[in-house]
Structure formats: structure tokens, C-alpha cells
């Protein structure tokens, strides 16, 4: 009896410990974003008030409206009352923010990069994981070694290359290099996934009279969908956050800036408007965070499959 009881207590103690550990990790991982969210919901200027409020007593979407360039007359009147700024000037500033453009640009860039790098790297991954040819390891290492080269090394000639192609200040100048920034990693992730499919698949398909391209398209690709998917998310995230190239080739033109480049500009231009900056941060992260959360299982599985293979 007493043994059983102590066992139950021990179980409860373990459960308590587990909950405490989970909460501790959650606090570590989520506090910064939580505080940014809370700042973004404060009225303009309230972010500097001491004592700091962990959560605004009167949450408002004012900052989001400002960042997205949606503004109402009455709001401007009250905001500019007693200050030197005229409502019209304030309206012009707010209208010029318009964070929708970088969000749209980033969406275009990241989607194209994810799709095209997936196409290219699924081909190369198929060759590496499932076809017989000489110099296989060397090919893989050739691709991987490329990916080790820092962008700081390649940025100057890439900038020159884009200039001579006349692509500066266009989204293409970000899309094309970013595709290949992601190809080596995607190839690796997908190849690891392909390698796990049984090798008789091809033989069976060949018996049924499939041609190599058909085997690739109709047999292998559908079976490896989760691996492809996680590689796609990886490429999407990578190009969503890519900053050095984006800020170099967009050359400060708001119309072609992606989120990271616009974000930096924004934070320089409005360095004291932390409710606005916070709102912009939340807007930049919301989509990718949501995407990762929804597909979290696949993403982690794809990533760990690659890691275990090492």
C-alpha cells in the first residue's frame, strides 16, 4: 500500500517537474515576441511610460493602422493636437509607411524562390540519392561546399552581375540568386528523404514500362511529398529573411524592398516609434510563424531526417 502511494506521489512530482520545465522553456522562447506583441498594441508614446506594462491596459490597433498606411482624420487630429506637426504632414508620413508593399514583395520573392529551388533541387537530389553514376559524393560535396561560402564574399560580384544584367531595383535580382542560395541545403534535405524510399520502386516501375522521367514524376515525387515540403518551407523562410542581398540590390527603393530591407529602413526612419516598429515586426513574422506552426510536424521531421543522416 505504502509503496503504491509513494509511487503515485512520485508520478505527481514528475508531472509537476515536467510542467515547470515546459513553462520555463516557453518563457525563454516566447517572452521576447510576447513583449513585442504587447508593445505593438500600445498607443503611440505609451511604450516609454514607466512602470512598463507587460500587457497594455487599453490595447489598440493604432500602430498597425499606421504601419499599413490606413489612417483616419479624427485620429490624426487628436494625435497632432498640441504638437508642431500638422495633421496633413502626419497623414503624409503615415501614408508613406505602407508596409503592405514589402510584405507583398517578400511574398512574391519567397514563393518563387521556394517553388523554383524545389524544382531544381528535387532533380539534383533524385540524381544523388537514386541514380547510379560516378563522382556522386564529389557532386554532393561540390554543391555543399558552395553553400558554405558566406554571402559577404559573393555579394560584391553578384551586385555587379545584377547591374550588368540591368536587374538592379527589381525583384528578379533577389529571386534568382536566392534560388541558388537554397539549392544545396534543399538538395541535401530532399536527398535524405529520397534515400529512405525502397530501392525496388524503380525496378517495379521499370517493369511497368515507365520511363525515367515518369518514374521521377509519378512514383518518387508523390512518395517524398513531406520531404519536399519541408525543404520548401526551409527555402521560403531562408529567402523571407535574406537581408544582405535584398538591401544591396533594392538600393533603398521602397517599391522593390522585401521585408528585411524595408524593416531596417523603417527602424532608421522612425527610430523612436517603437509601437510602429513592433507592429511591423509582428506583421513580418506572423505569416512565417503561422506557416511553421501549422506544418510544424513536417518541418521538424524533414529537418531531423537530414540531421540524423549526417
Amino acid at each position: 500500500m505504502s509503496v503504491k502511494l509513494s509511487h503515485r506521489y512520485r508520478n505527481q512530482a514528475t508531472y509537476l517537474m515536467q510542467t515547470v520545465v515546459t513553462i520555463a522553456i516557453a518563457v525563454f522562447c516566447l517572452t521576447p515576441m510576447f513583449y513585442i506583441l504587447s508593445t505593438s498594441l500600445k498607443p503611440r508614446g505609451a511604450e516609454y511610460m514607466i512602470p512598463l506594462e507587460l500587457w497594455p491596459s487599453k490595447p489598440t490597433l493604432q500602430a498597425y493602422r499606421a504601419v499599413l498606411g490606413i489612417v483616419e482624420e479624427a485620429e490624426l487630429e487628436s494625435e497632432t493636437k498640441g504638437s508642431m506637426v500638422l495633421p496633413a504632414d502626419q497623414a503624409r508620413i503615415v501614408k508613406s509607411l505602407n508596409f503592405i508593399t514589402p510584405l507583398r514583395n517578400s511574398l512574391i520573392v519567397s514563393t518563387s524562390v521556394a517553388a523554383l529551388s524545389l524544382l531544381i533541387s528535387s532533380l539534383s537530389a533524385y540524381a544523388i540519392a537514386r541514380l547510379r553514376f560516378k563522382y556522386k559524393i564529389q557532386s554532393l560535396i561540390f554543391l555543399q561546399l558552395g553553400a558554405m561560402i558566406p554571402i559577404a564574399v559573393t555579394i560584391a560580384p553578384t551586385f555587379m552581375l545584377m547591374r550588368s544584367l540591368g536587374l538592379l531595383r527589381t525583384l528578379l535580382a533577389m529571386i534568382i540568386p536566392n534560388i541558388f542560395y537554397n539549392v544545396p541545403m534543399s538538395t541535401w534535405l530532399i536527398a535524405c528523404y529520397f534515400a529512405e524510399l525502397p530501392f525496388d520502386l524503380e525496378d517495379a516501375a521499370k517493369m511497368d514500362g515507365y520511363k525515367p522521367i515518369q518514374i521521377f514524376r509519378k512514383v518518387i515525387i508523390p512518395l517524398a511529398a513531406p520531404g519536399l515540403f519541408s525543404a520548401g518551407v526551409f527555402a521560403f523562410l531562408g529567402s523571407w529573411g535574406e537581408f544582405m542581398l535584398a538591401s544591396a540590390v533594392s538600393m533603398g527603393i521602397p517599391a522593390v524592398q522585401t521585408v528585411p530591407a524595408a524593416m531596417l529602413n523603417f527602424s532608421v526612419q522612425f527610430r523612436y516609434e517603437w509601437t510602429w516598429i513592433s507592429a511591423a515586426i509582428i506583421l513580418s513574422v506572423a505569416l512565417v510563424a503561422f506557416m511553421t506552426l501549422v506544418f510544424q510536424r513536417w518541418v521538424i521531421r524533414g529537418l531531423t531526417a537530414g540531421a540524423v543522416k549526417y
Binding site: Q18, V21, F28, T31, P32, I36, T39, P51, L52, I120, L123, S124, Y126, A127, I128, A129, R130, L131, R132, F133, K136, I137, S139, I141, L143, A147, M148, P150, I151, A152, T154, I155, A156, F180, V183, P184, P212, L237, G241, F243, A248, P260, M263, L264, S267, W274, I277, S278, S284, V285, A289, T292, L293, L303, T304, G306, A307, V308, K309, Y310
Partner: protein, 311 residues
Amino acid sequence: MPRQHKFSLAGAIMKIRLREPTIAFLFLLPAFIGVIVFYYYQIVQTGIYSLHNLQHTADWQTQPFVWFKNYATVFRSTYFWQSLRFTVYFTVMATALELAVGLGMAMATFWVSRWLGGILRAIIVMPWVIPPIINAMIWRWLFHADVGLFGYILVSLGLADKPPLFLTEPVLAVHSVIFADVWKNSSIMAIFLLGGLAAIPADIYDAAKVDGARSWFRFRKVTLPMLLPTILVALLFRGIDALRTFDLIYGLTGGGPGTVTETLSSFAYKYYFTYGKFGLGSAYAIVVFAIIVGLAVIYLSRIRRNLRFKE
């Protein structure tokens, strides 16, 4: 009447019988071309730039060839040695701490009950999702000198009289940058290690348990050795990434105070786009590359060992 042959390109291509190596070559071609154009060719170009006295908008052909003068300038400048020291310190500290935190998080996720583990997984990936430059913004606000959350917490706990100058006092700035990096990248470390943990066969644990091994002993003698290959690869992966850190520095401290937190990459970028000295910046970049190649070779020889692709 003779049968009409309608020519179709797709049909013709499908009819060609290709040998497997040829197919492999064709499949690899797009990736190879891209990687050559955007990585290898660029390195050669950067190498050429680094031998010229190249200014921002000029073509390198028209600029004076200066042999290794740019490298001499680089190696003679105290800024270079300082930023090299910082880059190495940053890399070592950040990677080590990320390993510790990531391992802790991975072990915890593995240890807690099933549904808590599911929640933890979702929470742990979150910092990884945040782009580096956005991460820099976040910490600029949390480390704010007057109203930053961190300073505020320290003051309200009575640990400091006034908020510390996280980003403007040299020693503090260095460690604030490291902290911001650790916060974001412990996640990816944990994800990698989770994969490694999941690959350890369960019966090894059970055997150890039956033998009456204590949990610390089990961790040291069973988990850690089995996890070692994954740890090594994760360390190299992160180390290579940390050596070329740029975004975080650029957004968080801008290399300041002074040039205390300037990494080699951020210096190269500054030479390029702030001072317009492409030649000198290229010399910096080549030095970064040389350092990274060393690590990359170890890393690649490491992953090569376990490749189990169809030969």
C-alpha cells in the same frame, strides 16, 4: 495514303533512351550551373577584385592592379585583428551556449509527457522562424537603455540601480549580441539534436535501466556517446553560420560601440557599401572565406562518412 507523322518535341524526347549516368548529369545540371554562377564564379571574381584598387561603381578592368596591397592593408589594420578576435569569440561562445541550451531543450522535450512534448516542439521552432535582421530589432527594443524590458526587470528585482547600457558599454554589448544569437539559434540546435535523440534505439535505454543505471550515469554513458556524431555536426553547422554573422550585428549594434562588435562579414559589407571600397572589402571577404573553408572541409568529411545513398 501514307500515314501522316506528326512531330512532337515531347514525344521525341521521350523516345530517346538515355543511360543512367547521362540522366543523372542532366538532372544535376541546373543546380550545378546555378551554384557555379552564384558561388564559385563569384569567389573568383571577389579574388580578382581584391587585387585591384576598386571603387564602388567602376569596372575592375579599368582600375589599377595593386597586387596584394589590399591584403597588406587588411593585415596591418588593428581593426582587422580586433574584428577577427571578436568574430572568433562570438562564434565560440555562441555555439557553445547554443549547444548547452539546445541540448537542454531537446532532452526536456524528449523527457516530458507526450502532449507536453508536442507543445514544446511547437514552441521551440518559433525563435528559429524569426529572420535574423528582425531578431536584431527585437533585441534592440528589449535591450533599450531606458525602457528595455531586460533592464527594467533587473532594476525591479533590485539587481541594478539603473538599467545597464546593454548595447553601448563595450563588454556588455559583446555579450548582448551573443545572447541575442543564442536565443534565436538554440532552436535549430535543439531540432537537430531531437533528431539525434530519436535515432537512439530505445532498447539501449531499457538495457541501461534494467542494469539499474542512474539517470545522470545513463546520460553520460549512453545518451551522450550515442549523440556525439549529431552534436559534432550540429556544432560545425552552427559554427560555420556564426563565423559569417552579419545581419544580427548590422541591425543590433551596427558594429558599435566603436567597432567592438564588428564581425569580419560586417566589416566587408561596410567597406563595400558604406565606403565604396570594393577592392579592400573583397580582401576582407576572401579572408573570411579562407577561415570558413577550413571548417567546411572538416564538416563535409564528417557528413560524408555516413552517406548511405545508392552507390
